[in-house]
C-alpha cells in the first residue's frame, strides 16, 4: 500500500495535478509518525510511511494547506473523509484545491496500549498474522494485534470514503459499530456513579488542549477558551468546575459537527475517554432528532441549526434513564 501511495503521489506531482502531498513521515522509532507535507519525489521516497501506526487524521491540516497556491494531494482514510466533508460544509477548506486519494482505513495500533503491558525499550513492532512481534532492548515480546488496536478503530463506524477524487483499493461500507456501548453503560449507571466516573476521568485533565487542537471540528480563528473577552478563557484546570466547563463546552461546540473521528481520545496524554462526551451527543441526536452523521455529506442541515415543530421537550432528559 505504501508503495502504491508513493507512486500515486509521485505521479500526481510529476503531471502537475498537485504541488504538495500531505501524508505521514517516518520517525525515530517504530511508531512516532508525524503528519507532513512532501513536495518532491525524493522526500516521498525517503520518509513517506503508511503502516499500522499512521493513525493521525490529517484532514485538519487542509484548513491551512488548501488555501495556499497550488493543489494539495491528501491521503485520507475513510474516517478522515468525514472530517473533510464537514470542513467543506463549513467553508473551512477550499475543496477545489484539494485532491483526495482515498486509502484503506485501520485498524491502527495504539503504542500506549503496548507500553501499558509493561513492554519497554521498543525497537520494532511487526504484525505477524495478527500477533504483534515486538523487539525490545530486553528481548522479544508478543501480544495479540487486537489488544493493541486504537479505541477509535475498535469501534469503527465506516469503511466508506464519503468524498474522494480517486481511490486506492476498494471502497468499503458503513459498519454496524458498537460505538455507543460505553455511552449506554454510563447512561445505565446512577447519577452518583456517573459523577464519580467523570470526576476521576476529568480530574486527570492537564488542559494541554491537545484534544481541542487536534480536533478537525475545532478550527475557530480564536477559541473561546483562548479569548479573554469570552469570559470563560482559562489556561489551567484551576478548579474541578473548570475541568467540567472546558469539556462540556468543547463537546457542545462540536455537537452535530463532530464526525466521531476519535482523535481527541487518541491524543489525550491522560487517556481521558473524551470521545464519550461527543458520542453522547451523537447518540442523543440520533435518537431524538433522527439519524445524523456529521460529514456524511456537505449539504444537510446540522441538527443544532435545525428543528421541527414537534421536537421533544428538554424534559425528556428527566423522563428517561437512571437518576
Amino acid at each position: 500500500m505504501q508503495e502504491a501511495m508513493i507512486n500515486k503521489a509521485k505521479q500526481l506531482l510529476a503531471d502537475g495535478t498537485v504541488s504538495r502531498v500531505i501524508g505521514w513521515k517516518r520517525g525515530e522509532f517504530a511508531y512516532d509518525i508525524t503528519p507532513a507535507v512532501f513536495e518532491t519525489a525524493e522526500e516521498l521516497e525517503k520518509d513517506f510511511v503508511f503502516d499500522d501506526f499512521t493513525s493521525a487524521n490529517v484532514s485538519k491540516y487542509l484548513v491551512k494547506e488548501s488555501k495556499k497556491e497550488g493543489k494539495v494531494l491528501v491521503f485520507l482514510k475513510p474516517c478522515d473523509t468525514y472530517s473533510l466533508n464537514q470542513l467543506t460544509k463549513e467553508h473551512r477548506v477550499d475543496r477545489d484545491n484539494i485532491y483526495v486519494v482515498g486509502i484503506p482505513g485501520g485498524p491502527k495500533l495504539d503504542i500506549e496500549k503496548i507500553k501499558a503491558k509493561g513492554i519497554t525499550g521498543i525497537t520494532s513492532v511487526k504484525n505477524d498474522n495478527f500477533t504483534l512481534k515486538i523487539e525490545t532492548l530486553y528481548g522479544e515480546e508478543t501480544m495479540p494485534f487486537y489488544e493493541a488496536v486504537l479505541d477509535k478503530c475498535a469501534s469503527c463506524k465506516s469503511k466508506k470514503h464519503v468524498t474522494y477524487d480517486e481511490l486506492i483499493g476498494e471502497d468499503g461500507d458503513t459498519l454496524e459499530s458498537n460505538r455507543f456501548d460505553m455511552v449506554e453503560q454510563l447512561e445505565n449507571m446512577t447519577s452518583q456513579e456517573r459523577y464519580d466516573f467523570w470526576r476521576s476521568e476529568l480530574s486527570k485533565c492537564i488542559r494541554c488542549n491537545a484534544c481541542r487542537n487536534v480536533c478537525p471540528a475545532c478550527t475557530c480563528e480564536n477559541c473561546v477558551f483562548d479569548n479573554p473577552a469570552s469570559g470563560i478563557d482559562n489556561k489551567a484546570p484551576a478548579d474541578s468546575f473548570e475541568e467540567n466547563m472546558f469539556h462540556i463546552i468543547r463537546a457542545f461546540h462540536v455537537a452535530g459537527r463532530c464526525t466521531d473521528c476519535g482523535e481527541c481520545s487518541r491524543v489525550c496524554p491522560q487517556h481521558i475517554p473524551l470521545h464519550l462526551l461527543n458520542r453522547k451527543f451523537i447518540k442523543d441526536i440520533n435518537s431524538l432528532y433522527g439519524e445524523y452523521q456529521a460529514g456524511a455529506d456537505t449539504t444537510s442541515r446540522a441538527p443544532l441549526t435545525d428543528y421541527t415543530a414537534d421536537d421533544c421537550e428538554a424534559s425528556i432528559v428527566h423522563e428517561r434513564g437512571v437518576e
Partner: protein, 339 residues
C-alpha cells in the same frame, strides 16, 4: 552502603510517612504512573517514569498568589502564602532530579520566587536509579548518569535490595529516620546490576545523540535556520510537550472573580500557545513557526547561554511519547545538525 530487602520497602515507606507526607510513583487504572501520597497498601510502579513530571511538587500547575477581598468600594489585599509542610518525594528518576537543578536556576536566583523556594526548602528528593531505560530515554545526552542519580538521597534497586546513599543533610535526615530498618552491606551485587544497565544504555537508540552542536553560541545560526518551517508545519500548537516537560517553567498570571473578591493565581503557560506572552499589540511570535522555534531555542540555545552551558532538557523522553503528532526535541536536534 545501607540497604533494605526489597520486600521490606513498604515498611520503610510506612515508617517515613509517619513523620511527613511521602509521595511515591504508583500506577493508576490506565497503567500510567503518577506520584501519589503514600498510604499503606500502595505499590510502587513498574513503569519507568511517571506521566507527569515531578516538577509539580515545587511548581504546581496552578497556585494562588494573592487575594483581593472586595466589599462594595473597599478592597482588602490578603497574602495567601502559607509555610509548606515537610514532604518526601520518593522514587524520582535521575532525569527529573536534574530538572530541579534547572528550575532552581530560574526560581532561586534573585529575585527568588518565594513560593517555589518555600516548597523546595521543605521537600526532600529521594531519587531512584534506572535499571530498565526505555527507547525514548536520552538523559545521557545531557550528562546525566541514570545509574548515579542526584537528589537529596539516592536509591538503587538491584531487584533484591534497595540501596541508600545520602547526598545532602535533608537526605541524611531521611536515612536517619528509617535507619533502624536498614542494614550495612557491600555493593557487589548492586555493581553488577549497574553494569548491566550501562550495557543497555549503550544500545539505546538515542545513545549517540549529542549536544556538541548546541549551546549559547549557536543563536544566529539556528534562529535563522530554514528547518523550522518544515519542523513546525504539523505542530498543533497544543501544550502537551510543555505540560509533561520537567523543565518547562513558564507561567501566566491571571485573576479570577470569585464573586466576593479576586483570586490572583499563576498557572503553567506554554510557548506553543497562540496567546503566550501576549501583549497589547498581540503575540510577538506571530505564527506557530516562531512559537515552536522558541521552545527549542530556549532549551538548546538560550538556556545554556544564560546558565553556563546547562541545557534546558534532561532527556526524560516524555514529549517523545506524548506529542500528538510525534514531533519532539530529538527530531529537532537531528534536523538542525544537518548542514
Amino acid at each position: 552502603m545501607l540497604r533494605i530487602s526489597a520486600d521490606k520497602i513498604y515498611e520503610l515507606l510506612g515508617a517515613a510517612s509517619a513523620a511527613q507526607t511521602v509521595y511515591i510513583p504508583s500506577e493508576r487504572e490506565d497503567g500510567e504512573a503518577e506520584f501519589k501520597k503514600y498510604e499503606s497498601g500502595m505499590k510502587l510502579t513498574n513503569r519507568l517514569n511517571t506521566l507527569r513530571s515531578a516538577k509539580d511538587f515545587f511548581f504546581p500547575q496552578t497556585e494562588d498568589l494573592v487575594e483581593f477581598k472586595v466589599d462594595g468600594k473597599n478592597i482588602e489585599i490578603s497574602d495567601v502564602r502559607k509555610e509548606s509542610e515537610d514532604f518526601i518525594i520518593f522514587g524520582v528518576r535521575p532525569c527529573d532530579a536534574r530538572s530541579f537543578t534547572i528550575l532552581d536556576k530560574v526560581y532561586l536566583v534573585e529575585p527568588v520566587d518565594s513560593f517555589y523556594k518555600n516548597r523546595r526548602d521543605h521537600g526532600t528528593v529521594v531519587t531512584m536509579a534506572c535499571s530498565r531505560p526505555a527507547e525514548t530515554c536520552f538523559c545521557q545526552t545531557f550528562g546525566i548518569d541514570p545509574t548515579a542519580p542526584e537528589g537529596d538521597c539516592s536509591v538503587w534497586n538491584d531487584g533484591s535490595y534497595y540501596y541508600f546513599k545520602s547526598n545532602t543533610d535533608k537526605g541524611q535526615k531521611f536515612i536517619d529516620s528509617v535507619t533502624s530498618l536498614l542494614e550495612e552491606s557491600d555493593t557487589a551485587e548492586l555493581d553488577k546490576s549497574i553494569e548491566k544497565t550501562k550495557e543497555v544504555m549503550k544500545k539505546l537508540p538515542l545513545a549517540n545523540l549529542s549536544t556538541e552542536n548546541f549551546g549559547g553560541d549557536k543563536l544566529n545560526e539556528y534562529f535563522s535556520s530554514d528547518k523550522w518551517a518544515e519542523l513546525s508545519e504539523s505542530c498543533l500548537g497544543c501544550g502537551t510537550c510543555t505540560f509533561v516537560c520537567p523543565t518547562c517553567q513558564c507561567y501566566d498570571i491571571k485573576d479570577f472573580n470569585t464573586g466576593h473578591g479576586i483570586k490572583r493565581y499563576r498557572c503553567w503557560d506554554s510557548c506553543m500557545y497562540s496567546d503566550f506572552t501576549k501583549m497589547a499589540h498581540g503575540n510577538p511570535r506571530l505564527t506557530q513557526l516562531e512559537r515552536f522555534r522558541q521552545r527549542f531555542m530556549h532549551k538548546l540555545v538560550y538556556f545554556p547561554a544564560n546558565n553556563n552551558g546547562e541545557f534546558g532538557c534532561v532527556g526524560c523522553g516524555r514529549c517523545l511519547s506524548k506529542c500528538p503528532i510525534s514531533m519532539n526535541i530529538v527530531k529537532v536536534m537531528k534536523a538542525l545538525e544537518v548542514k
